[in-house]
Symmetry: C2
Subunit: 335 residues, 2 copies
């Protein structure tokens, strides 16, 4: 059996070489067709091959093939602002007539006017105030419906496409490739878990139970004689930075072996997962393509990337340079 | 295709009838062989058949086949005390020499003396003090090793068997039966999640990521230059009563369609899951067998069952009377 699979591997390697030499005549069966040949793609394929080859010293049993992905800026576009912030601003505008007390108060004034500078300068406190004002007071079922409705009509200001179409085609392929190789793929995002769950299965193939994110407190109560969970205006947990390893441990109870992120919010998740003795994979998406998407790292309020990039080489994390590594950015429209 | 599977169902039904008429000559292929023929078993089989039959008005897609099980008293024995409490008492005895300040203080004195009356009377406050004193201060990896070591040597005081052998054979079969029918099985327990995860895959076939429980706060830090999660002496969440729907929503993001419990701690989980319009299943294990296990409901500090039992009929929850419904209680020794 061992010999047969090695032969098979050799055949696959030769086929792959042909693909490379064919310069652009990419085989349609390449599971990572939107990744250009280069160090990032090669490292991914090498890792997956080694940890899934029976008898390999790097073999990882399927039960431990846990892969965690940040969402904003790693799986979909986070500029000119987090999608969830765009949702919150729209909610403020929609709810404003019922809240005259918001008229001259911050952060509501800035939210109504789309004044990102003031919002960004206000830090976490302002964001928390915005979130609790717009994401609470309804049942969990009602909130999921609000999110679905908004996503159906909202459009990205620059690309004029639904936000759920502005997901990265190479990352969709990576998710599928990992799953085809026995990995369980998770989202571990600073975004609200209930903002993501209504659509992640359809868009990413990631079911609700594999989405980890920030949470608002909820309370069980009887509403009209029917049990319901009501969302309270109170943050339960912020799943960012050092919160990411904490949440992964709490929700999954296993250390991921493959981690992908794009900002310093993913630093501790990368450190924690890749410090293990066995073969591990850390991926950083570096936004370098101002033409097809955005170019940013140091100077941005959304998705700031400094320390994780500095520590990448020392820790063996693979940096995917968007402009160089990705043949396509987004999937075709209207899929 | 439809006609073929109906024929197959008819054949299976006939085979099942033979099994019943054979009075005890239970077919070895019966997935619920340890359940006696009767209303509980019939209700389970009927539910699973209806929700998994393509084209049935009660059909539930596989992605929504979420089944949640309480652990203590539902999957394993919780008398004469919760297993985790036995663990905490042993930890207190082990750590006592390093803690002279515990000598005359409660709850440590009661813990050392195994004085359950004092411990039970102290309520949640005492339990929290015991847990934080014995379950914190180490990394998550270290704690998992402590749990594994303890379980390998600890024995139940009455049955003199490892606690992980005192799991209910009929419930093991039910878990397997549900999984074979496309259900994803979860534990949703008041017990500590990190007390369960080291062994649930081996004993129940439930992987760590499908175990939800009470949690202690953890903190990400660098220990000897290596990232670690350290357990803090601080309760993060108690996954009991109204906390169970809250935790299920937070961790899974879907309402279960099959719920099993044995105490009033499972009441809100039962209410929340079975109030939905579609076909749902609520199961209550009623401990009625003092000879083979224990008989208790109203008068016990561990696993008190009053309200959920009173509301069972009105809500259509199925009560499995342990003495009547279960042919076997435990699996054979040393499996």
């Amino acid at each position: 059996m061992r010999r047969i699979s090695l032969t098979l591997l050799a055949v696959l390697a030769v086929l792959n070489l042909f693909g490379v030499n064919g310069a652009g005549a990419q085989s349609s069966s390449d599971p990572l067709a939107s990744w250009r040949e280069g160090p990032a793609k090669a490292a991914i394929v090498d890792f997956v091959t080694r940890v899934t080859t029976d008898g390999s010293p790097d073999f990882i049993p399927p039960a431990d093939r846990i892969a965690t992905f940040d969402n904003d800026g790693t799986l979909w576009t986070e500029q000119p602002m987090y999608v969830q912030l765009a949702f919150a601003l729209d909610r403020i505008r929609e709810l404003a007539p019922q809240h005259p007390e918001w008229r001259d108060r911050q952060p509501f004034k800035a939210a109504r006017e789309g004044d990102l500078k003031t919002l960004a300068a206000g830090g976490e406190r302002l964001v928390v105030e915005l979130i609790t004002a717009t994401h609470a007071g309804m049942t969990t079922d009602e909130f999921a419906a609000i999110v679905r409705n908004w996503l159906a009509s909202a459009r990205h200001p620059r690309f004029n496409r639904p936000y759920t179409e502005l997901v990265y085609q190479p990352m969709l392929e990576l998710l599928s490739y990992l799953r085809a190789n026995g990995f369980k793929t998770y989202i571990v995002s600073g975004g609200g878990v209930e903002f993501m769950r209504p659509w992640t299965e359809r868009i990413y193939g990631i079911p609700a139970e594999q989405v980890i994110g920030s949470t608002i407190a909820t309370e069980f109560e009887m509403r009209d004689g029917k049990p319901a969970l009501v969302r309270l205006p109170q943050i339960d947990f912020i799943d960012d930075k050092a919160g990411k390893p904490v949440a992964i441990n709490k929700f999954i109870g296993k250390k991921p072996v493959f981690v992908a992120g794009n900002s310093d919010g993913d630093l501790q998740m990368l450190q924690w997962a890749t410090a293990e003795a066995g073969l591990r994979f850390g991926l950083i998406v570096h936004h370098t393509d101002a033409v097809r998407e955005y170019a940013y790292d140091r100077d941005t309020p959304f998705g700031r990337l400094v320390t994780a990039l500095e520590l990448a080489e020392k820790n063996g994390w693979v940096v995917a340079d968007m402009k160089e590594s990705w043949r396509e950015i987004y999937p075709p429209s209207g899929r």
